[in-house]
Symmetry: C2
Subunit: 287 residues, 2 copies
């Protein structure tokens, strides 16, 4: 079953809308207008949708009122650049570790902190240090290794800009030692929060990696890509030998499917509750 919104999502959407509006416009009167519109829309909904569905409704208001289809554009580039600047050091951490694949997975989870849906208050460097030392709350790594050894086609659903550089490192680490010959890389087909788009995949060079084929994932709007609840998406799942799903949004949309490896940091009470973990916990879970 699809994961439904919880009451906590209602104020959280308002915070998101406010932050998004501030990224592109400094007019406080407009911010208030947007917040009041968001509240009105939320009030009229019956609060039974999934978080990504409602996020879409909320962010449409910001996009329209600010006349900007991608309010997070600047902050997405900032985090792509920041992550790219860390790339050489992160590669060293992976290469010098006793278990490069496991370390690359830890780093891919650390990168998941760059999520303006959950909070704009985070410290990337601190998160990297913490995740490298922290125990997983849920850890299906052995299961993952077993599946990976038998796999040729990998479906990898990315989450955020900036984070996608960490994903690139994980994919490079996988390609080094395993027989994956095709990577279906799911990026969003249109702007939603700071989720990675095709331009981000190109910017960080992940789409140039051997065997990578981009798949546009829809955001609940027509012609934005393959919706995660569609027959077409299920066909893609079927033809993939192994599936890695990054982040909260993908977990919310995909936890109903079996045999997906979810890689994320629990950053909000709704996700933490669903997984029965604490906020800040790191998760590598096979569904």
């Amino acid at each position: 079953m699809d994961m439904k919104i919880k009451l906590d999502c209602i104020p959280c959407f308002q915070r998101q809308a406010l932050e998004a509006a501030r990224f592109v416009n400094s007019d406080i009167k407009l911010h208030e207008k947007i917040l009041r519109q968001v509240i009105a829309v939320l009030e009229n909904l019956d609060w039974t949708g999934t978080p990504p569905e409602m996020a879409h409704e909320v962010h449409q208001i910001v996009k329209k009122e600010c006349n900007e289809n991608d309010p997070y554009k600047v902050v997405k580039k900032q985090y792509n650049d920041l992550a790219l600047s860390l790339y050489p050091d992160l590669k060293d951490i992976v290469d010098e570790s006793a278990d490069p694949l496991f370390t690359a997975i830890c780093l891919a989870i650390a990168g998941n902190i760059i999520d303006f849906g959950a909070s704009s208050q985070f410290d990337l460097n601190e998160t990297i240090s913490k995740v490298l030392e922290k125990d997983f709350a849920i850890n299906d790594f052995d299961d993952f290794l077993e599946t990976l050894e038998k796999s040729k086609v990998l479906l990898y659903l990315v989450d955020n800009s900036g984070e996608i550089v960490f994903d690139k490192i994980l994919l490079e680490t996988i390609l080094k030692d395993y027989q994956i010959n095709k990577i279906l890389l799911g990026i969003k087909g249109a702007p939603i929060i700071n989720d990675a788009l095709q331009e981000d995949a190109e910017y960080v060079g992940i789409e140039k990696m051997p065997g990578v084929e981009l798949i546009k994932i829809g955001i609940g709007l027509k012609n934005t890509g393959v919706e995660r609840n569609s027959k077409e998406f299920q066909d893609i799942l079927t033809k993939s030998d192994i599936v890695i799903s990054k982040g909260q949004g993908n977990y919310e949309a995909l936890s109903k499917y079996n045999n997906i490896f979810f890689l994320l940091m629990a950053k909000c009470p709704v996700i933490a509750d669903d997984l029965n973990v604490k906020i800040g916990d790191i998760i590598f879970k096979r569904s």
Copy 2:
């Protein structure tokens, strides 16, 4: 001028209401009813009040719908107990430090993380370690020492339950080396969020300290105590030689007065902006 609410306060009040309701009632339908009522009340206000004024309106809904005048009662006792259990170790930290007064001030700020108004997601032990190592974003300690040396009457406005144990340690440290003969201890006169009440002062034994006299501070409701914007409160300020104010709520209500020493951790964007500091920064500021 009084500090006004910012747009960020609007979703934050909703989160507070939801958390408060959950402390006393597990009925999700009631939670939704409360959240919808809070949203309706917030929508109809013109968003020009001070944060404590609006918090009062919001929490009245929770109190009424849950039929519980003090929704944070259990969590307040939990944090009093937790802080009391830490008391011996904290005393050792102070006594063994090179500058006990400064260390006690740092700890009093660390205790300020126990603030369910700002967030229910905090780690007290981690905060204590961090604050003891962290530089102050604003530090008027020298100015404080100079004033303290000449003072006999101290007005100390506490903030939260649990935190009040840290305040006790600071007061004990002050009394050891300075000539304070009267401590006017401002606690809230009625329940609001997890703010400390007379019962908390009694529970942690702070009211038994030599020279302590409790003053009930109002929460914007009749007969709850001296309102911070009243003539009576200004008279208390006038007869005090030195004033220490703990936490965000007191800062919001009192930053318009001169010569108050504000001791707090910046925990929300509204306060951080007003003080021109970052979230998580620690502040010892004379107004």
